[in-house]
Subunit: 152 residues, 2 copies
DNA sequence: ATCTCTGCAAATGTTTTGCACTCCA
DNA sequence: TGGAGTGCAAAACATTTGCAGAGAT
């Protein structure tokens, strides 16, 4: 299994199972996320990217598709505090969690690789009568650029 | 220092330093958070609680106050994915981080005590040219009630 | 008197919804 | 031909902003 591309047959099956259709619009939107794997796209971002490819899709459809893909666990919805939801591909096949460093000065979001919390999940599950299936970590701080700037 | 009440003199000073006034409205809103220490209140929640006490405050003022208190690090702004921002008192005096278990079935948010990430912050700061000042962790899963329900 | 703060209403920006139309199966 | 999917416009909702008046020092 190639980790740089979505497993299309598996994905088609996911749609079938739930009786959803893999329409052209949905495929185009999926492709946007495949082509922008490192980004955290908002609905408007997706809409703009699609329009740049002269494949106009209604904004409402973009929203509906993003919700659908999140429900199917194909995308992960996240919030960086900038007033809009952002989405990225949920890499379930490779179970490495990546988290985010958010710069409090410029708002930049940097990826951070690490699955250091899996053990923690087990411990918490045992102690708290809560079955944990996922986690999301955000670190807040200052990126190098902003640190350099403030040293003027 | 009593950890169950806000250090008022320290707080007044925080306001003075930045040339903000501790107006009646701001005090009332602060008191709401002191009285609801275990909750995660939205702007509307706060507004309703204040109205129940027949202390009407404009919703815009509530929003402005919540932003101010967050800037002063008296409150912490957070997002549980329900489309509105939520706030709770930021316990800086006792530097234990508490995090949240969010039930994917019923949406309930459970507090979880633990400062297991402080070491991690140090490691990441060293490896990534990013100065971390805070973190926020959300665990997603299923609470006992919802687990019981689904076992019907 | 000045300057912040408040309340109201209007504006903004994101997301959702109603409805008619399209497209497959 | 029926039910899901789409596009458009309108609605809904949380949040922000402009402005005039209130309050404090």
């Amino acid at each position: 299994m190639n980790c740089m591309s979505i497993d299309l047959s598996n994905l088609r099956q996911k749609f079938r199972e739930r009786e959803y259709k893999l329409t052209p619009q949905r495929q185009i939107i999926l492709q946007v996320f495949v082509d922008n794997r490192d980004k955290h796209l908002s609905a408007e971002d997706v809409h703009n990217i699609v329009r740049q490819q002269s494949n106009d899709i209604g904004l409402a459809t973009v929203y509906r598709t993003l919700e659908l893909l999140s429900d199917l666990d194909i995308l992960q919805k996240m919030d960086f505090g900038d007033g809009r939801s952002r989405y990225e591909i949920n890499e379930t096949s490779t179970p490495h969690h990546h988290h985010h460093l958010i710069c409090l000065a410029c708002g930049k979001v940097i990826e951070f690789e690490g699955d250091l919390l899996e053990d923690l999940e087990t411990v918490i599950s045992r102690n708290s009568n809560f079955t944990i299936v996922d986690h999301q970590v955000k670190f807040y701080g200052y990126c190098q650029e902003c640190r350099d700037k403030s040293e003027d």
